[in-house]
Symmetry: C2
Subunit: 189 residues, 2 copies
């Protein structure tokens, strides 16, 4: 990878900060390209040299933040002392804590006017994480892709409910609830 042109770095940084500043005042959908550029002291034409829409600029933030989730997966986890249920790995509690940490950000990601794209990015990230700890001994007639999509999106379902409740639950409570849900079908049928 060739050395980054310092002008580009400076421009992108200015746009990043301008977007963040504006997001404190107003909703993403009410922010215009002209406004970001005025705030960042960057020519509007320069914006379009790097991004097609505001959403593409926001997407760069998104990847920084989900990158944090990904990195958290590498290091050993300290927040939960004992895992009560063998079936439940430490994945989900990490995900819940991550969302809680960046609550301000995910309020934007889950707001109804933003493009579905961000949802897919989160979905794929969680999908990837769950895949790392996939159970190798699965019935071969079970489509692994479909199974992963099921599990990953089920967790996002809980997160959506969390968002709708204005994040009024704790991450630990949600994890506890997830344990209970998974235990449900463990009962003899």
């Amino acid at each position: 990878m060739t050395k980054q042109d310092m002008r580009i770095v400076k421009t992108k940084n200015a746009l990043h900060h301008a977007l963040l500043d504006l997001l404190d005042e107003k909703l993403l959908e009410d922010i215009s390209v002209t406004e970001i550029c005025r705030t960042a002291n960057i020519n509007r034409g320069t914006f379009y040299l790097h991004y097609a829409q505001i959403e593409d600029l926001f997407e760069e933030y998104f990847k920084e933040i989900t990158g944090d989730l990904s990195r958290a997966y590498q290091e050993p986890y300290r927040f939960v002392s004992v895992l009560k249920v063998s079936r439940l790995n430490s994945s989900t509690i990490r995900i819940f804590h991550h969302i809680q940490k960046y609550e301000h950000f995910y309020r934007i990601v889950f707001s109804k006017k933003v493009p579905l794209m961000y949802y897919y990015l989160l979905f794929e990230e969680i999908n990837r994480l769950l895949l790392q700890e996939a159970d190798p001994k699965m019935p071969e007639d079970l489509n692994a892709q479909i199974h992963c999509a099921y599990q990953a999106n089920a967790i996002i379902g809980i997160i959506i409910e969390w968002y709708k409740s204005d994040f009024s639950y704790s991450a630990d409570y949600l994890n506890d609830q997830l344990v209970k849900i998974l235990n449900l079908s463990h009962r003899p049928s």
Copy 2:
């Protein structure tokens, strides 16, 4: 409810048809208000009298189509002869068939540039349907809302995977896979 002004009905119909016509040619995000009004022979100011954005016009279609899903729930189901698994009710297969029936429409709903709003509308619809057949004997320390959000969104996860595969599976195959997923945790742990 007071009688609808015929002018409004005519205007909305014209806009509906114009949007449908344009959707055959191009993507939703490439359609402008001006274009819809030109096609519908409706003054642009009139559009803004009824809708704030194109998305609100599209939302009216959405509710017509999910209304079809809701109605399908009322009548007895004929497509599946025998339910192989007692735990799996007929809900999901109906949902899969509904998506398949309106595949053209859901290709738009799941495209990455549309607002998240439509996803939520579908989510709430499926949530409502699942709620109708909710198991009454659940542990009381299990949050029913969270449990429903989990189940409903898990199914949408399968549908997303379906969409990403360009709808290359059959509805029956997906239902079969869902049965297998639900049976997974029935095995003694």
